[in-house]
């Protein structure tokens, strides 16, 4: 086992990793930017090293200073948390070069799964369903034939595109023909390439993901799913839960097996998550893999009783997966409280927290780095706290979340707390009738209706 780990992150996840290390008897080194001198992770760790000025590119993304910090402190491993350098294959390679264990998968796995096209190809090869699509669409005839085969509605995408640019939804052949030349010229202008990609459009799908743990000896374990459909239009998740409401045991099993098959095919090691879209008719499609620990990992911890961060560290140390079977118990919800203003299209806010009272009591866990008097810097992710509840069933987990949100007092910055309180009362949410359309529709009703 490692004797000392450097935590290359900030905020609640740095605190979470430091806590796991402390429980494992591992010394910790925090790295911090000049804006985080008084941050919780800086104080909780055994040692702390300033790595740069406030902007993330000069500090939490400053590879040279982070590696140098690991060397001067004699750290044997680096935990990258999520975000920042967690999915940077170059960083994982540099760690390897300096004989520092990167707590995550191998650099080549990060690279392969980080490339969406390659990840899709690997999934197809592993027999994992992906959203049906046709590439290299040049002519109108090719497009109409492909769309008929896929079934309307379809998405027209620029083959060279990314980040949602140039995507159009068409519901009929007439619409397809009308939009085709426009999409082609747009793609030409934006990417210098007019080639188009047609993809089946899933209407109101659910976002369901599978938590994976894999050791370096070929053992892979799926720890059930998480329902993460409550997302805004920027794909920011607000509420996650485990298990996914209404998912049949057969469907759960099939999705989990697919995820394990893909991980086996790519020789995955460490903790990771395979994300799927599940259509209304129950079909599921792989969309991407996150080769790191995720923000919403606590809901899985609550229902499985497994500390994912500690497991991830053990696996990185070369230990064998000791868990053979996972027993699910009860239901867990997580609300992500962020310093954002839902009234202003989730504009981030910064400032000093003038008053803070955290909820507690049975079945309530709060993962956070904030405290009264803490200054929320404007430079980083606006996540303030994760409120996690656990109950015997979904109703109890919801009741506990409503209570926890009522108990939560935070003043000084705009937060998503009132929005969460309203979401937890919404009939569709309570019924578990969820899809990625839920939150955008809820917001449209609230703010335009």
């Amino acid at each position: 086992m490692f004797r000392k780990i450097l935590v290359a992150n900030r905020g609640e996840i740095a605190v979470r990793v430091i806590r796991a290390c402390q429980e494992l008897g591992i010394r910790t080194v925090a790295v911090y930017s000049e804006a985080d001198r008084d941050a919780a992770h800086t104080h909780l760790a055994d040692e702390a090293i300033c790595i740069g000025p406030p902007p993330a590119k000069d500090s939490y993304l400053n590879v040279a200073n982070i590696i140098a910090a690991a060397i001067v402190t004699g750290s044997e491993a680096i935990h990258p948390g999520y975000g920042f350098l967690s999915e940077d294959s170059r960083f994982a390679e540099i760690c390897q070069h300096y004989r520092i264990k990167f707590i995550g998968p191998k650099p080549e796995t990060i690279r392969a799964m980080g490339d969406k096209v390659q990840a899709r190809q690997l999934a197809v090869k592993a027999g994992v369903p992906v959203i049906p699509g046709r590439d290299h669409i040049q002519s109108e005839r090719e497009a109409t034939a492909a769309a008929a085969e896929l079934g309307y509605p379809v998405l027209i995408k620029a083959a060279a595109g990314g980040g949602g640019r140039g995507i159009r939804i068409v519901h009929s052949e007439t619409e397809l023909i009308r939009n085709l030349s426009l999409a082609r010229s747009e793609s030409e202008a934006a990417f210098g390439n007019g080639a188009l990609y047609l993809e089946k459009y899933l209407e109101e799908p659910r976002h369901i993901e599978i938590q994976i743990l894999a050791d370096e000896h070929g053992n892979i374990l799926a720890l059930g799913e998480r329902e993460c459909s409550v997302q805004n239009v920027r794909h920011q998740k607000l509420i996650e839960e485990a298990p996914a409401p209404g998912l049949t045991p057969q469907a759960r099993e099939r999705i989990a097996r697919s995820a394990m098959r893909l991980c086996a095919a790519v020789g995955y090691t460490s903790a990771g998550t395979c994300e799927f879209l599940v259509s209304r008719d129950g079909h599921f499609y792989f969309i991407e893999m996150n080769t790191r620990i995720q923000v919403e990992h606590p809901v899985t911890e609550m229902v499985t009783g497994i500390d994912l961060i500690k497991e991830q560290i053990r696996l990185a140390a070369g230990e064998r997966l000791s868990i053979r079977q996972v027993e699910m118990r009860g239901h867990s919800l997580e609300c992500r409280l962020t310093a954002e203003d839902p009234d202003r299209n989730f504009a981030p806010d910064s400032g000093t927290i003038t008053r803070l009272r955290l909820p507690a009591g049975p079945g309530v866990r709060v993962d956070t780095h904030i405290y009264e008097g803490y200054w929320v810097p404007p430079f980083y992710d606006p996540l303030l706290a994760k409120i996690i509840t656990h109950g015997r069933d979904r109703n109890e987990a919801i009741a506990r979340m409503r209570r926890a949100l009522r108990e939560f007092v935070i003043e000084g910055v705009k937060t998503t707390l009132p929005l969460h309180q309203r979401l937890l009362e919404h009939t569709r949410f309570v019924k578990g009738d969820l899809s990625t359309a839920f939150l955008p529709r809820f917001l449209a009703e609230e703010y335009q209706g």
Binding site: S59, A64, I66, A68, T73
Partner: protein, 146 residues
């Protein structure tokens, strides 16, 4: 400035020859200039000094302390191949390399931000430093005649 005038007055009116006031990074030294040059060096050692009774000129000499910080995380090198070692009291010029920080095999130069005199060295050779850590303090003088 009011404070400075006040301090000059205190020095003028008192029997003291020199007064140094330090607030944070700022340091002000007010010295009386006498016609008799002050005793210096070994010759003055052990002698009981007699203060000149009346100063003829009063000059404010202000100086401030400028911290010199490391821009890297790494290991300090006070000299490179036996050269470039600076000591307390040394006068350095703006841009002069005053120590090095070795980071991942790259030797980064820490340079004096201004002309001045080294008044404090806060790191040892071979010591690890973090970003922004003060490695030396420089006294930078500015003088104004009254």
């Amino acid at each position: 400035m009011d404070l400075l005038q006040e301090l000059v007055k205190i020095v003028k009116d008192s029997g003291i020859g020199e007064l140094t006031v330090r607030v944070g990074d700022w340091r002000v030294t007010i010295r009386k200039h006498s016609l008799v040059p002050p005793p210096t060096g070994a010759g003055a050692a052990g002698k009981v000094e007699e203060r000149s009774p009346a100063p003829t000129v009063a000059e404010e000499k202000t100086s401030r302390t400028v911290p010199v910080k490391s821009g890297w995380v790494g290991i300090v090198k006070r000299s490179l191949d036996g050269k470039g070692l600076v000591r307390v009291g040394d006068t350095v010029r703006k841009g002069q390399t005053i120590c090095w920080v070795d980071s991942l095999g790259i030797t980064n130069e820490v340079r004096a931000p201004e002309n001045g005199r080294i008044v404090e060295i806060l790191v040892e050779d071979g010591q690890p430093v973090e970003y922004g850590q003060v490695v030396m303090s420089l006294e930078v003088e500015t003088s104004e005649s009254q």
